[in-house]
Symmetry: C3
Subunit: 181 residues, 3 copies
């Protein structure tokens, strides 16, 4: 028997197929899919996908643009028979930095919210730490926030999946790594 | 019983050991290995490896340098008892961009060719999307092309392997990730 | 039965949780944990962690700062009932480059030392090759050294783990990838 999952974190690099994977999970869940988009302007691909779904009788995405107040949006949307996809946390951190809000504090509020949601949520986030150290101090700060949030969320979520070229690699529950020294 | 594989995609970061892994697969296949090199000047390590193999009676690599017309090269080489290694798609995309060709169209032609090849082919490609967003617009465009091609090829190929520090991690066929919300 | 592990390599991106994972392995090993820190100034998080452990009766980390002579430090520390964590090889390569030492030669000496250590050692190293090719020639050289060392060490070590958002993904021993063409 498969356990019921309440929260999942979908990680991947840029153009790794992580958003498509998350959307597919939501569409196949039997629940009403709701997208909380942290980007203010959705990209063409996403807009086309949503238009396609809106045109399709069988599947209606609710869409909400929320660049900053993710905690409030989750409290309003992650309820009843909804399944919420938050896409993505990387843009959210960027938006918080641009708005000069306290990123670490907002991330703590998000983690607390994850323990309180009343319907399933799928978070989409980028892996940004596997390149060379950026020259730019702001990029290094951003990378630190992103990495710390990914770790905290991975702890808080039931499942973590790394998407590589569109293919899912299960990260949590982890394969037992039992090293005896 | 292990199924016969016709097409494989080997992904990895820079200096991850992906080329060595792909070459090992070809050398152990029992078929005549042919390298389609998209770099015009092969690096020393590769040149040494090929020289070593040419000197070795039991194993003769055919080598073809083809920076742009990968589809034509596959049609000519991926035949009979050959096994073809294409190394790598990252340089190929770079070459297409430098030559101001239509990258998206060339990628579609490649995907179509993959469905038509008459002998096994192993593609080598880079993971380039797991660092910080590049400052440079051309680098962002490149990253998008690369990520989209990796996703399309992963869909089209029988097997996908991610190489980490020389060690293979199977990505496709995927471990069943069955999330019930 | 689980085999006894003598050497492990823990890989991950920046802020992936690789250090915490390595430290946890050492703390749970039943051996005296010794940290060889290649950074000259430890970061606050690490300093706090060590202070916490020093204050804690049950667990006393030995800490040694060694930016360059890792081979000498291993010969002195990786003995008896110790378990040594080397954190991290990425800073070590950077230190060698800054000191204008021969990086490739030092890496060979380290690999040789790995075969000679008399007590368990856990190496922590960064994945730095999964972003866009750096503009900067020194960054490209660094990336090549790092990738080659990770491959060599992965070959020499009993176990390799990739840490993603704090979750371990076993890389070596590898899942059998048996491709028949």
């Amino acid at each position: 028997m498969t356990d019921i999952v309440r929260t999942a974190l979908i990680l991947g690099g840029a153009r790794s197929g992580k958003s498509g994977f998350a959307q597919g999970l939501a569409e196949n869940s039997g629940r009403k899919p709701v997208l909380i988009a942290t980007a203010q302007a959705l990209d063409d691909e996403m807009a086309a996908r949503i238009a396609h779904h809106r045109a399709d009788r069988g599947s209606v995405w609710g869409v909400l643009e929320e660049p900053l107040d993710l905690v409030g949006a989750l409290a309003r949307e992650a309820i009843n028979d909804n399944i919420t996809v938050v896409d993505c946390l990387t843009l959210w951190i960027g938006n918080l930095m641009c708005a000069e809000l306290e990123v670490a504090l907002e991330c703590e509020r998000l983690i607390e919210a994850v323990t309180l949601v009343r319907a399933p949520v799928i978070f989409v986030s980028n892996e940004v730490g596997s390149g060379i150290v950026p020259d730019n101090a702001m990029a290094r700060t951003f990378r630190d926030y992103q990495g710390r949030l990914n770790q905290r969320l991975a702890q808080a979520c039931d499942h973590v999946v790394l998407v590589v070229a569109g293919c899912p690699l299960q990260v949590k529950p982890a394969t037992r790594v039992d090293l005896q020294f």
